[in-house]
Amino acid sequence: MTATGTRARTRGGVGESAARPDGGLKVRGEFAFSSDLWMEGMLWGATLRSPHAHARVEAIRTEAALAVPGVFAVLTHEDVPGVNAYGLEHRDQPVLAHDRVRYQGEPVALVAADHPETARRAAALVEVDYAELPPVTDARAAVRGECEPLHAGGNTVRHVRIRRGDPTASAPVVVTGEYEVGMQDQAFLGPESGLAVPAADGGVDLYVATQWLHVDRSQVAYALGLDEELVRITLAGVGGAFGAREDLSMQVHACLLALRTGRAVKMVYSREESFFGHVHRHPAWMRYEHGADETGRLVYVRAEIVLDGGAYASSTPAVVANAATLGAGPYAVPNVAIDCHGAYTNNPPCGAMRGFGAVQAAFGYESQMDRLAEAVGVDPAEIRVLNGLTQGDHVATGQEVDSAAPVAELVRRVRDMPLPPPTGTDLRSLPGGVANTTHGEGVRRGVGYGVGIKNICFSEGFDDYSTARVTVQVVGDAPVASVHTAAVEVGQGVVTLQEQIARTELGIARVRVETADTRVGSAGSTSASRQSYVTGGAVQAACREVAAELVSRASIASGADPATLSLDADHVVDLSGRRVASVVDLLGGEEVVERTVEWRHRPTTTLDPETGQGSAHVQFAFAAHRAVVDVDVELGLVKVVALDCAQDVGRALNPGAVLGQVHGGSAQGLGLAVMEEIQVVDGLVRNPSFTDYLIPTVLDMPPMQVDVLELADPHAPYGLRGVGEPPTISSTPAIVAAIRAATGLPLARVPVRPEHLTGT
């Protein structure tokens, strides 16, 4: 498959930084997010949640709540008409708690009322008798089987075992370390929200901000006891996702209330509720041992990784597989032994977040690479260049890397970028910023590197596909292409990309992308950096079928060989660019050419249960960062002065959007490095607010130098490589390495807090 964009003269095609249709609206504050949904006569839903991390539910009394004027319904587990269970991989999570709550914030009852305030007040009047149980909070003890089982089958959600090469290999240079990653939150700005509208046919129409419409639909239908056809979901404006919308939040709840009351029901979480309304990034404990020869070339990697999945499975099984299979990092390692466990505990449920298991492992293996560099006396960049994967190498699962893997090149590029100027005097450039904590006293500079590896698309034999319906018709004397998929736009730009692909493939300037909904087949999830690849592939394929039909007609009419014809500027043209026929004429009036394609990437295999060997991944992606930090070593405050990145994207379909992903992903990694953590004590969240869960501001995130490589992957549409996740993975270890360089401290845990640097 080769790129076709170069021939297109139709503007706004693949390879251009085409403008986003939602850009102006968002900048002006006019974009309608799901929290803006409104319907005449609608009711408001509210959720009563468990205040306990672990308790038996002995009784629920709803009378007082029902007696509140303005309340239309109060629902409990008894009112779930289908199966009271949902979940992405295991349906182990109750829609509403029945006899037991397993985490703080677990939904117990629902209220619909004519005013949101009334609904919240009434929810507070639902009386629940809890018998508190001791919470299981130690993930390592949980997977060792030392705690009370929280689910049938015990507290290990999944164990993935990787054995490659000689498990007893030895090496002259050995470095070991234990590392921890705190619980990061996706911290999207648009809270969970949606509107459920009961339909005359007994079904329900749900408008919601989510990440995968069809998987929402199957879970909602299952819980409601309805045929899937009776649950119709339309995407509402999404205010960020980052994995946090993969699991259901208010979807079933709003539908339950709407079907019970016969009224449209809107639900919007508050910021505090949002922290309890979605899964977080798995906290991790890791023990690594790296063996190398005297030059620093890796001989073996051994690791034990425990991920705390919290109360329910969510996507823990897949996160465990990622941490395990990518646990040796973007390096060629002949001998690998990794055991990764995912635990059930009574901590907040954890699941998908940008980087998905690869983030945690990267903090471990990159910290190790720095230790190794120190042990053998080479530069941190050099140790990565020496061991970096290249095309033709095999990863820890034995899978061959069969497209570009420019790890060494990425490291060299960030290493060779200009360094930032020395520490300045402007307060905004110093640790602490305008809070005026230093005028240079105690400030030390450090430089650090990080490289990461990420699998793109869904792995382990998953039937990963997307569906695209493309039509061409004449509207107002001009051809118009329409693209309909269920691909969810979460801000990354997949709507724009679909327009670009249609313009490139059809040579038609006017492209309309329909609202994503379940009237068309599944597009799969907006996650795993996969939508450009999979929905991009589906739209490309459907467009090519439509184009082939138009070319065929032109060929018949003109007698020209169809192989010499293509589409451009609303016409079929020949090799010299001469217009053979207009699309308008080929369509002749009312006719619509429509093609629907279900498109799959090449298949993957499962992992061998004993050895973890297998070609489980579709594509690998790599990014490297060089971080420069100024640390006030007396106060423990950090200013990231530079965070420069090189990333191979195969082909930049929209260069502006690629840069946006690199900037945003790097910022999210910065957050994990120095500030972002949901603090959980005894299963209880201590900082569920943006007052105390801090995310980077513009004064924390430096301007970036970004070097985008385009080494086409011949297996992927247009040669593209998924972009969204890799920069999140490598930025965290690069920053921590820089802080270590500035302070000389070992720093085995992220986020790094001031106390860790001052020892107080």
């Binding site: 305008v434 005026n436 105690g442 405050l637 007052t691 801090l694």
Partner: protein
């Protein structure tokens, strides 16, 4: 929830007397957060943003009078010379949007131990002017904070203005947060030099149940400074000052930081800010 919006200061005082159950609101940067998080649900709000009399500042006889409606943004841009410590603190409040709404008087009304305006007001020896239909009284900043988020206001009183001595001498403010902007103080510190009476003022934030001074540290530094010769600050005296400031604090462990870190950070901030202020004083006198 009732919303009462007086158009004059007199109306505001009357409303306050008649409806002590109404929560006064200025910028709303604390009040609205509390309401949105359902931490408090007052019977109503007394909106003071439409009162023209308190929206201005003036200087009279060496005292800066900052009306209750003056925003942090105004303090930051207009009062940097007259009240440098307060202006520095104002610059650290929230985001530009929040500084356009929030007021120093609102900060005093909330009386949070973490309020950014409090340490410089304590350090400079400011006075809070409060008023009710019964009359006006003046409360020293040092007497204003009576408990965690509690102040010396009577139920019928409103904060009318803040009176800040114009010293013409260096003041400093520094605040620790775990991000470089838009952050609530983990610990903060203000210092004010008063060369005319050879005094040093201090204010500690976020490290005790209330904002508070460090009197022993003030005495120690005032005694250690070479007021006549304007010689450099003795390093051991600076260090001692930091220790005494840390000793004056009574911090707790919470999600924002540990008590031990807060004490440590205060010692560092006190030493640095005192050095900056004294060096500035020496330079200004010399030039």
């Amino acid at each position: 929830m009732d919303l009462v919006q007086p158009a004059t200061w007199a109306e505001a005082l009357t409303a306050r007397a008649e409806r002590p159950d109404l929560l006064p609101i200025a910028g709303g940067t604390d009040v609205m957060v509390d309401i949105n998080f359902d931490r408090r649900r007052p019977e109503g709000l007394l909106d003071l943003t439409r009162v023209p009399e308190t929206a201005t500042w003036s200087v009279d006889d060496g005292v800066l009078r900052i009306g209750a409606g003056v925003t942090y943004a105004q303090v930051e841009s207009d009062l940097a010379d007259l009240a440098p410590g307060l202006a520095m603190a104002s610059r650290t409040v929230g985001s530009p949007q929040i500084r356009n709404r929030g007021t120093v008087a609102g900060n005093l009304g909330s009386a949070s131990p973490a309020g950014d305006a409090h340490p410089p007001l304590l350090a400079v020896g400011a006075t809070v002017e409060v008023e009710s239909v019964r009359g006006i009284r003046q409360v020293a900043a040092d007497d204003f904070f009576v408990g965690v988020k509690r102040n010396a206001l009577e139920p019928d009183e409103l904060i009318r203005s803040v009176l800040v001595p114009v010293t013409g001498a260096p003041q400093q403010f520094a605040k620790i947060g775990t991000r470089n902007a838009m952050v609530i103080a983990v610990a903060s510190f203000a210092v004010s030099l008063h060369p005319a009476d050879r005094r040093v003022g201090t204010g500690i934030g976020s490290a005790a149940p209330t904002p508070r001074r460090a009197p022993q540290a003030e005495e120690q530094l005032a005694g250690a400074l070479d007021w006549d010769g304007r010689g450099p600050l003795d390093p051991s005296a600076v260090r001692r000052f930091g220790e005494l400031v840390a000793d004056a604090a009574d911090p707790i462990d919470d999600v924002r930081g540990s008590a031990a870190y807060r004490r440590h950070a205060l010692a560092v901030l006190a030493a640095r800010t005192a050095t900056w202020a004294w060096d500035q004083h020496r330079t200004e006198v010399a030039s």
